[in-house]
Subunit: 270 residues, 3 copies
């Protein structure tokens, strides 16, 4: 199985799929091709929140504002999962999450192993998703994730060796909030398609607070378990599906109601 | 085969797919993930107009404004099709259409059978698509649609019994128009991506009227068989692919030209 | 394998997929369903730039402003590829590109063969994608691309004979630019989802010019190899993944910065 995620919109992902299918009959599953454009941190968030739900797979992730520069090309292996991506941090949070889940599921550690590969520059420097990463993902799938070290040079990929390490690849970290018993100071990580403003404040901040008033940057809302626990159009905060506090509106857009954009500071006061 | 339909936008459907693929190697087919958001009636329309074209399948449909409340979770079986959805009516018109088609195709009746299942509340009350309905769809697929009564408890799903009936589940009906030989009074059911305003007036209203003038809420248009039978940019009414009269513009948007939105009253006058 | 491309948006492609899957268990791969609406030339561009990357397949392409009129329905065969589409030119550039690639890959010519088929008019004249082309694509897949001449009548498709020729089908050509050593006069063919304005000026115009200033309709830009070779927000021209000169902005929209829309004249001056 090969999953595909990018910020390419349409129809560029089709060229990537064609290139993969020339080399592999793997099942292809689209994750998203409208990841926030050229926004590595937001894309990394969504990869972390989607890819670990899949069974073992090769995950092709291309959000690559540095395309055509000398940034490296990576394969990150965690157990039977392989993440194929540019070395800009976009898959590192997903790798960390996969490793945490593997550790929780067994006594074995699932190390994060990073492989770099050289590639010949393709004719165009603008579409490495098609010309570099798609052939790499197909090659990784065909050789098998557990056999990555034996990958023969294929297409433009000249070597696949554990030359990189989790310490030397580009990392991506989300900020930590400051939380006490009555106030949490954090940040909006992303706004989803519903307009829910997803913060980095852990859901535990709302433990035992259902039904109480919570101020979001001074704007009042109600802490609830389910959207429909307030009237249609009313503001709420709740523990979202990512485990964080979200600032939402029932059947409306929380980002508009709270005037929150990704990256904004947010103060939650009980 | 499992089809997937939701109002989730992107990338939440990917988490649902991952959850399904952890439990089943069924073929997955996306129907749409941009169904009108939290609009059960419009989503029910589109499910009715797409799902019955598929061969027997498990159809996972999640448009669920009541997520996290005590609304029930359903599996509706019609012949070899199973519809997995919240109990809010979203799949009832599709079930009725499937039953009509089955009856037309054979002498056997295809009853609509409704199964409720209990589930343990997941940690988050906001994403039952991922945490409740996706595991349910996979479980239904794996046990087989014809064996639903023997489904063992799986994941959070504690029972699957025909405890519900077509009479007790939440229904969804579309309004009936009032049609005589020269006038039809109806409603705009949905506006599609082309901007075609699809009414609930049956196409038979235009029988023998091709080429004639038709007023739509007083705005003139021409009844045609094909869009291109009028000039580019001109208003027309025609029998659309759903069997209803549509108010369209050739290579333009009918909703704008006729000032029609979903739910608006519409009077067609010959 | 059957690929699907259309300008249908959502959820109409689902009905096409259902119809195909009733008749075939082919792998389905979505190319795009947001091709520029009713814009045959732009859709032809994107088909040419995506379909040839696929392994041999049946390619279902429905951008069909003449739906329901007497325009013909075609299957165009190039080697082991078959393109199923209305006879409006939308797949001709892709067919030509497939033939060029086949010729480059072998000593054998891969002729472009065109088959017309008759079909009974479906009840609705507005959705031949579902009612004519989807059954045709499934039928072509099931009989096999190399056996097209033996296709039995199926569904509404009454015959499949090489009655058409590349000379008699509707063609689609892109304009040629006028290029000398210091100036290229061309046209914007399409604007992609990133806002890159893709011209018809061949990339060779920029050979040896990396780092130099290039005026685009009098607006200054820098010729670069990679987007990130200029600062974020700066204008650039580069050789895009289609082999043409593109007018772009690093992490921004070139169409806005250069005031370029599809079809606009563009003069590049060194």
């Amino acid at each position: 199985m090969i999953t595909l995620a990018s910020d390419f919109g349409s129809p560029y992902p089709a060229a990537m799929k064609g290139v993969v299918l020339q080399r592999s009959d793997a099942r292809l599953v689209d994750v998203a091709h409208d990841l926030p454009r050229q926004d590595v941190r937001a894309a990394a968030f969504w990869c972390r929140e989607t890819l670990p739900y899949f069974p073992p797979a090769v995950h092709l992730v291309v959000v690559d504002p540095g395309v055509g520069t000398d940034r490296d090309a990576l394969v990150v292996r965690v157990g039977e999962h392989a993440l194929v991506a540019p070395d800009n941090g976009v898959v590192v949070p997903a790798a960390r999450r996969l490793a945490e889940r593997a550790a929780a599921d067994s006594d074995d550690d699932a190390p994060i192993e990073c492989f770099c590969y050289d590639y010949q520059d393709p004719a165009s420097a603008t579409f490495h998703g098609r010309d570099v990463f798609a052939p790499a993902a197909a090659a990784v799938h065909e050789v098998g994730v557990t056999n990555l070290g034996t990958l023969e040079p294929i297409d433009r990929i000249e070597s696949m060796a554990p030359g990189a390490s989790p310490e030397t690849v580009v990392d991506c970290r989300f900020p930590d909030p400051a939380v006490d018993s009555t106030e949490a100071r954090g940040e909006v990580l992303v706004v989803d398609d519903f307009g829910n403003a997803i913060t980095n404040v852990p859901g535990s901040f709302l433990d035992g607070r259902v039904g109480e008033a919570v101020a979001v940057n001074g704007t009042s809302a109600t802490a609830v378990a389910a959207f429909d626990d307030v009237d249609v159009g009313d503001r709420l905060v709740t523990v979202g599906s990512h485990g964080y506090v979200e600032c939402d509106v029932n059947r409306g857009r929380g980002d508009a109601a709270f005037e929150l954009d990704p990256g904004d500071d947010v103060v939650l006061s009980l």
